[in-house]
Symmetry: C2
Subunit: 297 residues, 2 copies
Amino acid sequence: MRERELLQRIADRSADLPESFDRVLVGPGDDCAVLAPDGRRLVLTTDHLVQDRHFDDTLPLELIGRKAVMRSVSDIAAMAAEPAWALATALLPVGYAHADDLFDHMAHHAREFGCPLVGGDIASLPAGSDGPISLTVTVGGYAENPVLRSGARVGDLVYATGELGGSMTNNRHAKATPRVAVALELARLTTIRAMIDLSDGLGIDAARIARASGVRLELDADAIPIHTDASGLSGALGDGEDYELLFTAPSRATIPESIGVARITRIGRVVEGEPATIVRMLDGSTVDASEQGFEHG
Amino acid sequence: MRERELLQRIADRSADLPESFDRVLVGPGDDCAVLAPDGRRLVLTTDHLVQDRHFDDTLPLELIGRKAVMRSVSDIAAMAAEPAWALATALLPVGYAHADDLFDHMAHHAREFGCPLVGGDIASLPAGSDGPISLTVTVGGYAENPVLRSGARVGDLVYATGELGGSMTNNRHAKATPRVAVALELARLTTIRAMIDLSDGLGIDAARIARASGVRLELDADAIPIHTDASGLSGALGDGEDYELLFTAPSRATIPESIGVARITRIGRVVEGEPATIVRMLDGSTVDASEQGFEHG
C-alpha cells in the first residue's frame, strides 16, 4: 500500500472523530489536527516503542500497537490528568505488509484510552533495511492540578497500586491498563503530593521521585505487593514495565484500599536524607535499591 | 553518555523555560510537560526526519536538528497558527557521540521558532545497528481560526509565497524559514480560504487542496515564481521541500505583494472540475501536474 493510500485509509477511518469526541474539531488529513480549547492545563508526553528494544517478534501486532499507546497514556495517568488526544508515528520497512493493521490497532486502543489518534506520520526505512520498526506516540491530556514528581515531603506516606514484578509473563507488559481512572479518583478524593508511573522498576522510579523532591523514599520489604508472576522481592523492585502508580500523600490523607480493581498498598514513607530508594528488610537491615530496574533506552 | 545523563542535561538546559516562555509551566524531566491553558484552538502536527530518506550524511548536524523542527513548524504555519511548544524523539545508534549536540541544535531552533522543546524521548537502535537515525518532532500551536486545506471555493485566486524549486542547492531545504509570520499576517489582514505548506512539491500539494476542497486548481505556467536554483518550471512544480505557502483567497481580497522578505505571487485560480492541479502553458495547452513532486514517505 502506498503511503498516500494508507494516509487516506487512516483519514477515512477517523472521519467520525469530530462527532465521537467533543474536543476533536479536525482529525487526520490536514497539515495539522485541530482541537477545541480546554481551560485546564495541558500535559504532554511522547515515547518510543522500538523493535528488539521494547518488544520482540513474538509479541502479536495488536499488542505492539496497544503497548505503544499505553506507555504514553501511563505517563498522563502519572500526572493525574485525563488523556485527550494522541499522535503516532511509524518507521517501517519498505512495503511492510501490516502498516494498515498496525495503525488500526493503535487507533483502536487510543480511542479505548480516551485519546483518539488525531494525526501522525509514516516513514519508510531505507531500501534494504528491515528494521528496527519504531513507533512513537505523543499524548496530550488535561488536568486542573497536575501531580509532579517533585512534591514529596518528609513525613508523607508512600503507596503503590496493583502488584509488581514479572510483567514479561504472558505479555502483561503490553496488556497493562494505564491507571488513569485510579489517578483521577485519587486526585478527586484526597491530596496526592508526588506521583510517577512504574515503567522502569520500583527501585529506579522511586529514586526519581526522591531526586526530584530532594528526599529519600524508605520502603518496607514486607509491604511491597509482589505479583505472583515475579521472582520475589527483587522482581518487584527491578523487573519494571508494571505501569502501576507510585505516589506519596500526607500521613493524614485517607487513601482507599482499592479503586476499581486496583489494590492500593502503603509501602513506605518519605524521610530526610540523600535522595535514594532505601528498602528496609525484615531483619532491619537496609538496601539501596535506587538502581534496581531497567532504563529502556 | 548514558541516557540518564543525557536526559539530565536536557532538563538542566531547559530549566529557564518557565521564565522564558509564559506558557511553559513544567519542561523536560517529569512524566509529562505542563502547559498553561490557551483559549484558542490547539493545532497539532508530527513529522519524521529519517537518515537516508530526508537527509544524508553530508548535511551538517545543526541542519539535521534544524530541519527536524522546521518541517513541523511549517505545518503549523500552514494553519495560520502560532507555534507554542515542541516534543522531540530520537532513535540513535548505541553510544552515538553526537546525541547531546543534536538535541542542543533541536532545542536551539525550536526556541528560535517560538516552540521550545518541553519534552521528548531517546531510544537506542538495537546493538550492532548503525541506522537509520530517526527523529520525530511534534509541534503544538494555537489559532482562533485555523486555515484548513478544504476551504477553497470556485472563483478564489491562488497564491504562493517565495520562489519554488531547486531546494537541494546549498541545503536550502534544511535552512528554510517556516512562513509563520507571513501566515499570521495574512490571516490578520484578509480572508484566507485554504492553505498548505509546499513540502512535497507544488503539483502534489496543490492537488491536496483541490481534493480536500472538491475543486480544481488551475495555475499559469508563466506566473509560477521559479527559484534561480531550479531547473525551470518542472523544478518549481516537482522539486519539493520549498516550505513556502500555497493558499487561496476570494478574488475581492487584497493580498500584499510581499510580507517581510517573502514575495507573494498570484499564480492561478480555483475552477470547477475533477480535483487536480492543472497547469496552463504559454501556448494555451494544459498539463495535469497533480503527481509532480515527491512523497517523502
